[in-house]
Structures are given as structure tokens and as C-alpha cells.
Symmetry: D2
Subunit: 464 residues, 4 copies
């Protein structure tokens, strides 16, 4: 999948509780390592239990934080921090929607970092408005904050129970609640949330790569429906709602979103992707000279395909790491220019070769079409496209920014038609069975709505 047409994950969350630590710096490194999950805004909140302060801004983590604001966030008495990096899927992009969302109190305070997308935000909001509450942001996350605030005096267990009962959809939450660090995951566990340890201190993060960054150890995943409370008494856990049994973790975390060096539910992301590539080679073998990935998203699966098929793995496309502006009006010519600026072929690799081109998914099909055209111009004899996931046919309502169904090529055309449209010599999608074998799992353990249209947790607007 090409970056321009990439599906966008919405957020990364991070939380840490501990004494005598450089909490703000650890939070910074935590969300820096989760930067791939959102590049629109970033924020850190810290608290000593009484006085909560925060800094948020638009842009990349490295743009938002500087020596001045980091110094202000680095107070020796702080005991808890949460942080967030955001790509907006609900609510606008403005600074107003940057997270953590903060509630200030004369004593204490709350800061909320949320990954996911609620499906009944509008109806919750309507009820809260009738009770005299109001909203300062466009973000569905403020619903959670309002519910927690309303039940704050009952303590975190009471308040989070209310959240679980009222809110539907996907949510993985890291939260400062006065002097406590709270973790919460929706009953289906659609978005990831991991628990780690740094010395005696507890850490929460969307992905385990954040633990690696700060030198912490992955302990386990937070369970679907589980509330985690960390304070001076240590860690306290409670399942607030049992799993529906109809769905689970977003399967695209394995296919594309999570970083290859993360481990989720005990599975290495890299290894499962390599395995997907191996399965793909079994399902769609082809006589070819080289296996080459669309960098970087197709690389792990391409390595697997190469290992299984015995065809040499070769880099053939060079990715320009810098971002260009094009200054050109839209159109087919521009689309190809954009692809060519981003991904440049090595002619000597492709000339007269039969190529297996591996990517993780096809969304609209326009960029892979341009890419194939470019590779052919570089001299390739045959191009066999291999996709390490099933056809993408349904938009996501749980936190991924996807096009309308009308723009999803696989929702409207057969594999054969797509193959012809993109100009490939053959096209193979990994089957659902192959995917499950690679994951060593069953479909009901995952959210596979994008491949099946089965929205077990409802759709946005269902009850509005």
C-alpha cells in the first residue's frame, strides 16, 4: 500500500506511574515511538496528584515539544503522566481537539488519552447536554471525559464502570485520575493496549515498541473490558465487562498499523507478517526472478514470500523519505508523478525480470496502478502482485480513516477486474483462511469488518 493512499490509524496512547522518574521524558520517548499511529498533534500531561499540567500542540512530537516546555513538564514531585499522539478520525483537526483532554480541579485533575472511535457519541452527548454538561471540543473523547467527571466522586471504579456501560465502539484509554494512572479497554478489545514495567513502575502503551524505546519490559496486554488502576498501592485490575465473543482486536494492527517490532497478544508483528508472506507464496506461487516489496509496508511479507518461494528477495523501489509538494492540479499524470517522486525504481533490478511485487493491501487501486506502470517502464517483463491480506471491502467505524465503500476498489470489482485495471500480470490476495493460519487464530477473535462487513460493535450513528 502506498503512503499517499494509506489507511490512517488514529492514535497512540501512553501512561506511566512512578516516583523519582523523569516522567515527561519517558512520556516523550513513549509517544515518539508511537508516532506512526498519528502525526497531527501530540500532548503530554503530568500530575503530582494535586496539580496537573499539560502541553499539547499540532504537528509531530518533535515539533510540539522543545526544551522550554519539557522543562516546565519536568517537575520532580510528579508521579503520573499520560501522553497521546493523534490522527483525527472523529472531530476536526484543530488544536482544540488535541489530547490528552484535561479536566482541572481545585484539587487534582484528570487527563485522558484515547485511541479508538465511539459509535454512539452523538446520543451520549445529547443526554449529557440535557443534564447541563457541555463540550468544548469536537472530539468523541470528550464524552468519556464528561462521564468520568460526572462520577468522579465515586472514584475511578465507579466512573469507569459508567463509561463501559454507556459507551459503545472502540476505546483504549490511558488516563490520569487525580493521583492514579488508569487503563481501560473496550469489551471487545478492538484497539491494542499493553502493560509494561520499568523497574518498579507500571507503564501503559498502545504498542510494546514504546516499552522498548524506554527500556521497559512488556508484561501482558490489557484484557478486553479490563480496568487497570495504578497508584501508591500498586496495580489493581478488574474486568468491567465481559467480552462479547463476537469480535476482537483489529486485524489491521497485524497487517499494517502496528510497528513490526511490537508484540500484540503474544504475537510478533514482524513474524506474523513474514508468515502472511509465506502463506501468500503457498496460495499464489508463480515462476519469477525476484521478490520485491512496496517499501516499507510490504517488506516483512516480501521477506516471507521470498523465503517460502526460494526466489531472491531484492529491493527494487527506493523510497524518498522526504515529503514533496506537487503544485499541480489533480489528474492521472499528477498521480503518477507523486508516486514516482515517492518511489523510484532501480532499472538494473527490474530490466527483463519477472517480478513478484508484495504489498499489504489495496485500497483504491490507483497508486498501485501507477507503480506498476513505473516498474514496467523500468523494464520489468512481468509483474505479479501479491497482497498479504484479503480484499478490503468495507469502511472502518472503529478508528481507522477509510474511504467510502464507493472508493474501495475491491468492494466494486472482482480480483480479475482489479488485476486488469492495475495492469498486473497476475494478482493474488491472501485468503481469510490463509490469514488465520498465519495468525494461528480464528476469525471471531478479531475485528475483520473491513474484509467481511461484519460490524459486531455497531456502526457510527446507529442509535442517533
Amino acid at each position: 500500500m502506498l503512503h499517499e493512499a494509506k489507511l490512517k490509524e488514529e492514535c497512540g496512547v501512553f501512561g506511566i506511574y512512578g516516583h523519582d522518574l523523569e516522567l515527561a521524558k519517558l512520556a516523550y520517548f513513549g509517544i515518539f515511538s508511537l508516532q506512526h499511529r498519528g502525526q497531527e498533534s501530540a500532548g503530554i500531561a503530568v500530575s503530582d496528584g494535586q496539580d496537573l499540567i499539560s502541553h499539547k500542540g499540532q504537528g509531530l512530537v518533535a515539533d510540539v515539544f522543545n526544551e522550554t516546555n519539557m522543562a516546565q513538564l519536568s517537575r520532580s514531585k510528579d508521579i503520573v503522566a499520560v501522553a497521546h499522539t493523534r490522527y483525527s478520525t472523529a472531530g476536526g483537526k484543530g488544536i482544540i481537539n488535541a489530547q490528552p483532554l484535561v479536566a482541572r480541579y481545585l484539587n487534582g485533575g484528570m487527563a485522558l488519552a484515547h485511541n479508538g472511535n465511539l459509535v454512539n457519541a452523538a446520543s451520549i452527548r445529547r443526554k449529557l447536554e440535557q443534564e447541563g454538561y457541555f463540550f468544548q471540543t469536537d472530539s468523541d473523547t470528550e464524552c468519556i471525559l464528561n462521564i468520568v467527571a460526572r462520577y468522579r466522586h465515586g472514584g475511578p471504579e465507579v466512573a469507569m464502570q459508567q463509561v463501559v456501560e454507556r459507551v459503545r465502539g472502540a476505546y483504549s484509554v490511558a488516563m490520569i485520575f487525580d493521583d492514579k494512572l488508569i487503563g481501560l479497554r473496550d469489551p471487545d478489545g478492538i484497539r491494542p493496549l499493553c502493560l509494561g514495567k520499568l523497574g518498579d513502575s507500571w507503564v501503559l502503551a498502545s504498542e510494546s515498541c514504546a516499552f522498548t524505546a524506554i527500556g521497559a519490559e512488556l508484561i501482558r496486554d490489557v484484557k478486553p473490558g479490563e480496568l487497570i488502576i495504578i497508584d501508591s498501592q500498586g496495580l489493581h485490575s478488574k474486568i468491567l465487562s465481559s467480552k462479547s465473543g463476537k469480535g476482537g482486536l483489529c486485524i489491521f494492527e497485524y497487517i499494517y498499523f502496528s510497528r513490526p517490532d511490537s508484540t500484540i497478544n503474544g504475537k510478533s508483528i514482524y513474524k506474523t507478517r513474514e508468515q502472511m508472506g509465506r502463506m501468500l507464496a503457498k496460495q499464489y506461487p508463480v515462476a519469477a526472478d525476484i521478490v520485491t516489496p512496496v517499501p516499507d509496508s510490504g517488506r516483512s511479507a516480501a521477506v516471507g514470500y521470498a523465503k517460502e518461494s526460494g526466489i531472491h528477495f531484492t529491493e527494487g523501489l527506493i523510497k524518498n523519505r522526504y515529503v514533496a509538494r506537487t503544485f499541480i492540479t489533480p489528474g492521472q499524470e499528477e498521480r503518477e508523478l507523486k508516486v514516482r517522486l515517492k518511489l523510484s525504481p532501480i532499472p538494473e533490478v527490474f530490466r527483463d525480470k519477472r517480478v513478484v511485487l508484495v504489498d499489504d493491501s489495496i485500497v483504491r487501486g490507483t497508486t498501485i496502478k501507477s507503480l506498476i506502470n513505473i516498474i514496467k517502464s523500468a523494464g520489468a517483463k512481468e509483474i505479479h502482485v501479491r497482497v498479504s491480506s484479503p480484499p478490503y471491502i468495507s469502511p472502518c467505524y472503529y478508528g481507522i480513516d477509510t474511504p467510502n465503500e464507493a472508493d474501495l476498489i475491491a468492494a466494486n470489482y472482482s480480483t480479475e477486474e482489479i488485476c486488469q485495471f492495475i495492469g498486473a500480470d497476475s494478482l493474488g490476495y491472501l485468503s481469510m483462511e490463509g490469514l488465520m493460519e498465519a495468525l494461528n487464530g480464528k476469525p471471531h477473535q478479531f475485528c475483520t469488518a473491513c474484509f467481511t462487513g461484519n460490524y459486531f460493535a455497531g456502526r457510527v450513528g446507529d442509535d442517533d
Copy 2:
């Protein structure tokens, strides 16, 4: 080689002559594709032969240019453009030194884009000052501009002849000279310069990847000592100075600087790097489970090593594409943190494995040491470091920003000592002979000063 300790190339140059073309946009895409050669400043100058205008700024190409200034640079009557992307090796970093350097005239104008480093800038400057000329920048490039200006009325051939006679060192130049596009390369051809064609129009660029970006075709390299004049009469070429026979193209362009999709002197950069990896496997075979590169610099050679050795190629280190700040005082701990933030290991790949770790070079040795430590912590059983070039023992005076000799680890320690210092289980550097075999060439065809200390074109300050 890790990015933090990367050797820095100074510049990329681009020039185009033609009618009815969107010259500014083509120049923009040209230097965008040369962005890897310099990220400090960027600039474009265009001329209709009479009226020359330019825009320059600090930062990346995409930061310097926006719709407003691109619209100003996009004049329908323009016939020639040059552009530059810069990393400073001589002169300060300020906007004042950004290129193209411009000389304005009542009729016509000159704009100069230069890649390389002069060794006798100070003595040239002294002479010019005595003749009443002065300098507005800190850059050695202004010496060339001053010489050209002084002999401008004789036309480009006379003026450039003066440049070749007076100036020593490395220079590849793309220049607007009133209504002409000029290309010039130093007699040894130390820095690359290619000639291409886009339809009927001629193009000059540091690397052929810039031609790919704009859909142009590589015709040939500009020859050492060759002057190229392009105007309404077409292309005119003249050898202004014959090659010394003692040196040639910077060998590091093949090893690291140039983009893998470029072709220089008829050789594919990617292919020669893969070949270096193959030679390395022949010279330093080892019993191992995986071959993995230091991304991205070691990837091409690692693919070659894997092919030759039959050991599987695997990605094991995930590169964080974003830039972090560390907010931490210097020290060993911080160095490792920085490496870990940039390159994160996949534990499942390394656990209990014998690893061949491939990179293109070792400069100081501190970052590879941190990296080895990180990979060991991720569970690797053995780490065999393979370097696809000879030991780096001498600083560059021809346009690469290198540490002092005291900081070059291979200048001060034996391979065995380095192996011990970095904590590897074995260490192999590609020999000069192996390198030459990979390049299918002879040492005297290249500048190999960094590996040999043989400065055939003199050193900076020699005659000051």
C-alpha cells in the same frame, strides 16, 4: 552506518534549459530527488536570458518552496533554471550561504550551483580582494562566481577556462550564464554530474535519480574537466583540462552517498552495492542464521551478502522515520538511547540467532557499539559485523563532512581492536581489492583518499 554519525555530503545541483517547460517545477522535483545530498538549504533560480530571479531558504526543499514563491518563479518566458540543495562543508550555515549564488546585471544574470569543496579558496580570495573584488558570503563557491564575473565579457568559455586554471579541488557546477545553461566538472571528476534529456531539452543533475523524477533520460556523465554550454544553438562541449590520471570520482558515492536508483559512470549504484555485499560474503563468510542490514544504508549490501552466502535476508531493525529530540545531557547512556529511538530491534527475529549485521562503513564506532548492545539485549547469540568498504582512516577535503582523524576509529585502532570495542563476535571490512572487483575498476579511477590518505588534488589550506 547510523544516521546520527553519518558522513554528510554537501550538495546536489540541478540545471535545465528549454522552452515551454514548467522550469521551476522541474527544478523543484529535481532537487527534491537530490534531497539526500543536503538538507540545510535549498534554492532555485530561473531566467529568461535577461531577467534572473531566485528564491532560496533554509531547510528542506518542501519547507523552502510554497505556492506563492513557486508561482513567482513560474514565468512562461523563462528558458533556463538551476537549483541547489545544500549541506554546508565550507562556510557557515546561514541563509547568506544558500545557493544558487546570484550575480545580477542590468542585462542578464548569473546563478551558480556548486557541489564540492575547493582546496585553494583562501589564496584565490586574497588575489581577488587585491583586485578590488569583495565577498558577501562565507562560501568557497563565491570564488568561482567572482572569477566568472570578472571574465564574463569574454563569454562562458573564457570565463570557465579561468575557473579551471585558478581553482583546485572538487567542483561540479550547474550555472545560468545570461541566456545559457553551463555545466562544469573538475578535471578529476571528483563529484558526479550527469547529462540528461527531457524531450528536446537538456538537463544537468548530480545524480541520475533526478532525471527519473522528472521523466528525463540519462544520456551520459559529464566528463572530468568538461565544459558543457547549452543555449538556443543546442549543446556545445569542450574539455577545458585533461584528467590528471591520479584520481577520479569519489568512491563513497558508490558506497553510501548516491541514491541506489542512480547510475553513475554506467554503473547502477544498487547493483554495485549488492556486488560489494557479495564480495564481502566471499571474503568474510561465517556460519549464521540470518543476514540483516543496518537500515537503510546497509540494505543493498546485505541483500548481496544473503544471495552469495545463501543465508536468509531478514529485516531485524525497525527504523523510526521521525526525528526525536532527546533533552538529555551527553554521555554513553544517551548515545544508546538515541540509537534505540532510531533503530528498534525485533526480538523474535534475533532471539538465539547468529546474526550477520551489514553496514556500509564505520566512522567513529560509537553507534555500532550501541547497536550491537541493543541487538544482544534482544537475544542474539552471535553478531558478525560486515562492512562493505575498507577501514575509513582519513578525513575528506573534497566535499564530505568528516570528523578529525583522531575521531576516526580505524585510523587509530586495528580491526581486531575495533571488533572488541564494538562488542562484535567478528568483524570484516571489504578489502580495497574486493571493492575494486565489485566496481570492476582500478583504484586510480577513483578518489580513495578516505581509505588511503592519498590526496591527489591537494588539501584545504595547502597554498594559503
Copy 3:
């Protein structure tokens, strides 16, 4: 009074209701003309009754708004706008505290612009927190917003009645309440608020100079304790709380804060200041050659003093309209440098002259001391300082940023001592009686706490 030591007013508010008007532009010009009341941040909110949008930023009105955001705020269907320009007296300076504060609803919305300072914000906040409400800003204004939100469903009359009953201190409010424009002034009317008309449309503003700016007509002042509701039914007014009878409008609005071209409670600010100057001339006549103001604050009173005394009015100090940085460590020498950079004497005006120097007030006394020194150095023979208000002895709790009592020179020294300290030949403060005569009023009609220490509306923190 010199600008560096100026007392700072906190805010200017503006509101307008009407169809087919360029509401955002009118709001912009409104707060631009109130810019003297606050330079830290500015904001505008507009609504069509359903959909409320806003833009806020730090800095001057002209810095915060540009063509892009003004275009976004300029929607043809909008019917109501409020705007704010801020100097912070309570709460921090960050963007988070910029006004109008906004509450978003699925249908409708509220935007609140507030001038004044609450004295019981902490206790209100404590109660609201116990009811499950929370705060996102540091500003006391959010208390008002929370109260209104809680009682929103009863409509504006019910909600604003709650505000009046719960809140104590100074507040003049312009507010969007769904499809209505609301005006509210505290029962004592401490901060000004005027009602105007532009064609058929109603306008609210802190000062009438905002009406002049947009071509509107001043109708009357909003009465103390009065609620104004403007909607499609026209204007509806109700006195929510009767005046305490113990205080009234801040007397410093007449002395210094308001713009000379504003009219408050039927009195021209300029004319009352001229009248203060006349009274001052009657109370403290002196044989002198020239009357000269400390520009710009003393100019109106100086004109009055000159008219009454028959001594020629002359400009003698030139004010540098630009803002300097000093880059110098604090100290007496720097203080004088800063004064001299800001106010430069014309030697030919002062040489051998007996000077009456008129200003509106003395706060710390350090800058007038420097200024007298500068004028003496320019050759003045005698300097007679005349102050057009009584000695300033008590800090303000109702919306003016004042030093501690310990730093108020008149709170600690006699007039004679002050005269000696500042180096004047004589010093005269307008008496309270003279001030009242100039205002044609009685002390109980004004808040005179700064001259008397009589805090009839309580002090900040009284009931915390």
C-alpha cells in the same frame, strides 16, 4: 503615568445581533477599537443559532485574524457574534484562557466574553466540581459558563438569574446563547457595558468608541444588574438584581482606562478628563511657563489645566511609538534608559522653563522620578507635577492588574515625601472632592476602592 508601569485593564467585550451583516468584520472592528483594553489575546465567535464557530489566538487583534480565518468566520447565515480582547488578571496567559469561552452543543452553542474579575470564583468552582462539572481553563470566566450551561435548558433568563445570584465581583458579559445575544452587567455596574444600534441591529460593547468604529449609534449604558436578551423578537430587558447602592462604575475608567472618545453614563471621557485638569489648576495653581503632558495619558487633563490656568499648552516629550527591548539587567540606570527610549524631551521646549507636568496617576513613582530627571537634564528650571486623580493607595480586586500595596508609593508615603522622592519642585494630587466635581457626581456612585480601600463588593478569596 508611564506605559511600563501602567495599570492594566483586563478586557474589552463586543456583541452584535443582526441579519445580512458582515458580523465577523464588525466584531473585528469592534474589538480593534477596544484593543487598548487588552493586548494578550483576541477572539471572535459567530453563530447561525445552530452552529457556532470561533477563532481565538494570542496577541493583538491584527495578529490573530487574517484573511483565511476571517473568511471562515464570515458565513452569510450567521445572526449573532461576540468578540473579546484580553489582558489577563485572573488565570494564566495561555491560549487556553483566551475568550470567548465556547460551549458546543449538538444544536446551538454558547460563547462567552467577560470583562471583570470575580471575587468568589474558588468557592463557586468547588461547588460545581462536587456536582460533577469540571474546568478546562484557569479563568474565573469558566465559572459563569458552567453555571449558564447547567441551567441552559431553562433559557437565558433562568440561567443568568443563577449567575447573578451565585457570582460576586465585577462582570460585564456579552454572550451568544444559542440564537440569542445576551448582555449582563453586575449589580454594581463596576465594568462598563454599552448598548448601541447599527441600523436595525443591536450592538453591545465595553465602550462606545466601538460603536463609532463600526458606524453604530450609542443608545444607552446597560444598567447595573440588567439582563439584555436580543433575538428575532427584538430586545428584551430585565433587572435581575438591584444595585447595592454602595458602589458603582470603576472611577479609573474615567481617569485613565477608557478611550477619550468614549462616552460612559452620558459623560464624555475626554471632557471629564479636561475638567479634572481644570479642577487641578484651581486646586494647585502655580506660576509657570508651560503646561506639558506625560503623553498620551496626561494630555486631556493637561489641556484642561492649560485652559484654566492660562499657561500655554506645549508638547515637550516625544513618545516613541515602537516597542524596544533593552537586553540589560535591571537597575536604576536601566529604568532611566527605558524611560528615555520611550519618552524623549525636546530641549528647546524645556530650557530654562518652569514646567507644569501633568499625568493621570502615580503608581510606583519610579518612572515619574526618571522622567523628572530627564526633563531636568534637558534644562528645565522647575518641574511642578500635577496628578489628575487622588493618591492611589489600594490594589484593585475588580479587574485591574495592580501592584501589591507595598509597591504603591502613595500607600506608604506622604505627598511631601513622594514629591521629594521623585525630585519635583511641587506635587499636587486632585482631591476626591475635586474629582467628584469634575465628574459632577458623588463617591457612592463609583467604585473608588483604589483611592479609599472601600471594597464594597468584597475581596478575592473572601469566602474561600
Copy 4:
């Protein structure tokens, strides 16, 4: 004259030579006090005689300099500094044209600050280009720098003699020449340049108000055609060219440009303006109730008019010190809005009054027309406009940015017609004789080209 239509002076220059002084800070304060002479860019250069460094930027002095760059400019060994504040009259506005222009040498350096406008820049440039020199800016000032550079080796006297012989037009120059401070003024002395002393150190500045700012003493004006050389030997002076006797100092420096607290050629600017007002009262007496200035430019003359006529001086127009954007398409309505936002009338001052409205000049007549309309709407019964200079009929070629003759109302209409156009009840311009009496001088002692069309120093482009 209203600010929007103000004539713009191009520059202020400042220079200082001395040991053990905070040269950069003194230069900063110097140009800060000359900020009224140019607000587009600012710059400071300092040198120890060998190593010259500088900082320049676009915008106000306070925007260009901050603690970081001031610290870099504050070197203890420096002995000479020059500084500049610029409004562009020739050349574009870009940073490239910001002054001081700098010439760097291996030993020493030059930095040039220039006020004025050359009339033969193009022909000089053509000659220099033929000799091999080139230009990096659009500014005519670079001609001077190029000439000096060419003759640098003869020393400053030789080089500056060349400047005087080759260059025609207006120039007041402060320059670093290696280890010397140079002052130079054109033979007619069109632009001002003063010599002052701070302790043992010499100072140069466009106006004496810069000396007041730094606590220096005005010694005398630099003479027309005089070269000043200041170095370790002290001050050396030489008349390089004798005055033509046909013209002299720009008379508009007295009327409007210079700050009222400056003294030029022994005359206080404020006093001469007051005197112009007195002469105006004598020439155009009128029965009226108040005299009021257009602030700030008419204030000094209005005070004079009031003194002479015995009519009370009153402020009636309040100037908004902040800058607004209007976001409105051009047109008559907008013009009046702009005037009203900038200058707001006090109705109580004007109601039923006969008003004498004093300003220093009328350029286009459009803004005074709007202003009269505004004052009439505020209730004035009669408005008698008095202008403290003769009709402005000819554009300036010597450093003032003026409209074309077609746009100068007095170049095209009689006083009676202008009176009718602007809607005044009467209009009186100070006659040339009255002006000379106020200045106690003769027309040939001044450049009066704007009132007479007598361009004694030629016009721009004369010899091109």
C-alpha cells in the same frame, strides 16, 4: 497628513567608534530611536577591525533583534559598529536589500549604511559591470559599496573621493571601513547626518534624537560634501566636494520626517514646526472656537497656531495606536472606514464648534476628505483646514517615496478646488515665504523640489 497616505522616508543610519563600549546595544538603541525613518528592515554590523559580523532582518528593530543575536553581536574586542533602519525607495523590499550591506575580506571588512537615493545608479552599474563587478542586491547602495571596494586599497580617502566623483543624488553614509568609522554626506547635504560624542567616543546618526537615546551629545552636523574618518587616531575631516550652492537639506525633514526632539543645522524641529504654525495663523487667521491637530503630524504646528491666534488648543481626534487589517475591497467606503479606525472623533469636542484643523501637508487629499466628513458627522459647524507647508506638487527623487504627479492633488488642482473637494470651509497653505520665515532661511539653502519642481541634483534616470 494621515498615516495611510504618509510620505515615507527611506532610512536611518547610525555609526559609533569606541573601545570598551557595548557597541551593539548602543547601535540598537540608536536605530530604535530612528525607527520612524524606516520600518521594513533593520541591521547592525560590528567589527574589531579584522573580523566583521552582522545581523539583518525584515521588520521592526525590536522584531529583528533578540537576546541570541544580540549576544552574538556583543563582542568585547569590537571597536566600530554601524546600523541601519530601512524603508525601501529604490530596490525591492526583500531581506537581500536589507542594510548594512557587507563586504567580507580575509582581513577586515566593510559595512555600509546609506540614507538617500542615487539618480545615476543605472549608469554607474553599467560601467562597473563592464569592469567585471556584479551585484547581489537590487539596491542602489551596492553601487557605492562596489566603488569603495574597487578603491579599497588606496584607503578610505581615495575610495570615498571616487564615490563623490561618480555618484549623484542624495546620500548620507555611515560605514565601517576595516578598523575605521566613516561618515560621508553628498555635496548638497540633502539627507541629514549628525556628529555626536559619547564620552571620548564619536557617534554618527541621521538625527540627533539618536544621541539623546544613548546619552550622547550633539556636536555638529556633518557638512555637505564632508568626509569624516574616525579611528584610533581620532577624528579626521575633509571636504571632498564643495557645495553646489543650488540646494541643500530636504525641507521635509523640518516639516514632517524628523522627530520633533531632533535638532538639525542648529534648529529644533519642534520649535520650527511650532513657528510654522504661528506663521500659518498670521497668514490665514480665522474666527474659530478650537484649534485641533491631525495627530501626531499636525500637533506641533497646531500648538503654534493656537498660541499665535489665541484660540484654545484641544485634542479632538483620538489615534488608535494599533494597526488594523480591513479585509475589504478598495473603494470610498473603505477609505473612510480606514480613517475612522485610525482616527476617532470626540463628539463633545466638535459639536457645534468652528474648528481649525491643522496638518503638515496634503498629498492625495483623499484621507483629509474622509476625515473632514467624519468630523462633520461628529457635529462640527465649520472646518478650516490649515496646512503648515506649501502645496506639494512634484515627486521626490532624493529618497522619499511619493506618488506620481498625477496623484498629487496640488499638482492638478487649485487651492480653491482642493478646498471644495475635501469639503472644508476654508483651506490655507503656508506660503514659501512664510515657511522661510519660520525657518529663518532662504530657499536655496534647502531642497524644495517637492514644492517647486526644481531638481538641482538631477532626476533618476537622467543619464541612463
